[in-house]
């Protein structure tokens, strides 16, 4: 891994280790991301920023980051809808880096295999190109978008049907009762 990747990851990990808080935009260029009131869950909301071909490629990138298998991935969670809403509202400053990144992927497809677009490459080919793109602001932004598109509040357009939350075992509730997990359950039953 290059110096930049290590330092960026260490930096992010250091932020995480300081469990007082995490400031993600700091590690992605410090852009102000304004939030507009929105609720993007309606199926009647049309696409706002991404063209058809951009949507296919964005979904393909997100599906490499969080693949679909016997369980939901970025595709089922609607990460591409999340990205479209984000680029229309609170992350409009990221349109350039996303579009530039998609264009670069397109260039590399053609240069390496003489065909494209990215969305139509085989899985292994897509992954090979993304390994090369790991250090870029484009890929790091897509990681951020995929994380919040999978596991953020569905009102932002992703995590469709809470598929992301169910994937990892999170549920959003206002109230829980103990036992919360196995070990406080075992304790309350008198084991150990």
């Amino acid at each position: 891994m290059s110096e930049d990747a290590v330092s960026r990851r260490d930096f992010a990990a250091r932020l995480a280790a300081a469990t007082g808080g995490i400031w993600l935009s700091r590690s992605l260029g410090g852009v102000s991301w304004r939030r507009d009131p929105l609720d993007a869950r309606s199926a009647n909301v049309g696409w706002r920023v991404l063209t058809r071909s951009e949507r296919a490629n964005v979904e393909a990138v997100a599906s490499c980051i969080m693949p679909s298998d016997d369980s939901a991935g970025a595709r089922e969670a609607g990460v591409v809808r999340f990205v479209d809403v984000a680029l229309a509202t609170w992350a409009r400053d990221k349109r350039v880096v996303i579009r530039d990144g998609l264009a670069e992927l397109d260039t590399r497809c053609k240069a390496r295999w003489g065909r494209g677009p990215f969305a139509e490459l085989a899985d292994g080919e897509q992954e090979a190109l993304l390994h090369e793109a790991e250090e870029t602001a484009f890929f790091q932004t897509m990681r951020l978008f995929t994380a919040f598109g999978m596991f953020g509040d569905p009102r932002y357009g992703g995590n469709a049907g809470e598929a992301g939350w169910r994937l990892i075992g999170f549920e959003d509730r206002h109230r829980w009762q103990q036992p919360f997990g196995y070990y406080d359950g075992a304790a309350s039953e008198g084991e150990e």
Binding site: R9, D10, A12, A13, R14, L15, A16, A17, A18, T19, G20, G21, I22, W23, L24, S25, R26, G29, G30, V31, S32, W33, R35, I65, M66, P67, D69, S71, G73, W90, L130, R143, L144, T146, A147, F148, M150, F151, G152, D153, G164, I168, G169, F170, D172, R173, H174, R175, W176, Q177, Q178, P179, F180, G181, Y182, Y183, D184, A186, A187, E192
Partner: protein, 552 residues
Amino acid sequence: MTRPVSRKLFATDEMVDFVIVGSGAAGGIVAKELATAGSSVVVLEQGPRRDSVEFAHDELAAFVVGEMTNDPVDHPLSFRKSASEPAMRGTAQLLYHRLVGGGSVMFSGNYWRFRESDFIERTRCGAVPGSALADWPISYADLEPYYAKAEWELGVSGATGPFDPPRSRDYPLPPFPAKSSGVLFERGARSVGLHPQPTPLAILSRPYRGRTPCQHCGFCLNFGCEHGAKSSTLVTVIPTAEATRRCEIRSDSYVTRVEADARGRVSGVIYFDRKRVEQRQRARAVVLCCNGAETPRLLLLSASPRWPDGLANGNGLVGKHLMFNGLATASGMFEHPLNEHKGVVATRVAYDFYENDARRGFYGGGALDARAFAYPALFSLLLLPPDAPTWGREYKRMLREYYTRTMSVTGHSTSLPVESNSITLDPDLRDAWGVPAIRVTYRDHPDDLATMRFLQDRAVEVLEAAGAKKVWRVPVQEQTFTTHILGTCRMGSDARTSVVDTDHRTHEVSNLFICDGSNLVTSGRGQPTATIQALAYRAGERIAALARRGEL
């Protein structure tokens, strides 16, 4: 649902007894003490006012869009490790929250008293080379009644343990039961000879004074409590202050200057209102409760021909001795789900390493607690082990395995006061209002790093002893991020070496007071909110007494 708006009581050209700048952990308490003592008070809060029911479990709003926190465009800051390098934007973060109630709305609720030794470390440990370690001008015994007052008035849950300092009163509320991380921590800590106990928390474990207890939703740290169970100033002393009809909380009011008259006394403050129009609020006295970064910044912004280096800064110490607290974490994954996304942040703590121990070869001490940072989107992005892939099939598999099975043991420790660690004004960078931005100069003292590494090693031992299947850590490095901003207007009896006296009055300006994290002489071992709030209760009482005697 309508948003509550503070009813305006005072016209801006009306002279009030006190302007308090900042409505957070300290400002809310000082406002309540002064208003109930009979003074007229206007609290100017930079951020908006939110009601408990508005607080949502929204990671994007909290961490990315940065509502109510330091938006890097509106509120940029610059960072450098020392004055010999240029300060850069985007390399560090001071995290604090701009809203009525401030950090007391958003903090984890962890609530640790200082110990007797914290107040006399210079005497006990001697000078530490490369630091300005000093004794406090007050003792634990002086502050103890106010710790008790804070715990009972605000609502703090806990139980005494083997290392506790003397207490005049027990906790008003019983401790939270251990959640899975606490159970595992107890198991591991005991087996390596430590003495874990329940964590003190400014969160209600039972109904208290008409407030709803904790419902274990899991969204404490960096989120407001939708139930009002976290004992923030927003749901405790601020309503009490307002009920006197002598206190107005004026939100969306960004103070940029404290004005002083020809006699060298403060006369009021200048602030931007919600529409970014400048206003002046006149006052007979001013109390700064902004936090350890914004308070020195405001004094520096208030420079004048009489105070060329900043208001009340004749000795040049405003902004200096910035301390962060140390923080070092180890994490572990266990066989069965813990589900740390439920419940309060931390339920068990071990204070065995609190005291300084010269045999270690370095100054410092701290505590270990069992906690987890389990917000789903952030976990997926940042909290798998450092050697895990960050995307792809194996990443997804690990995420599904680790998310519910992971916990951390975190060491919280000391920061030495170092004069070159400071808050100053950036000469070039300005915020969205055109006001000079904060420049942070900070480098951990080598003893602080040694203490963090020591505690991280102990944390690994505890996790291994608890039976973790896998344990990992991120190596301790010089810190560039904090939520604990301390020491920058230190308290002291000697006007040459401190900024405020034991009444929190600035040495140089008789009607200007400071009460917040900037007053701390030593950093303590972490979780400074309890000490800041005890100081605020004491300061409120003493300032009210000065006002009553006409000595302002």
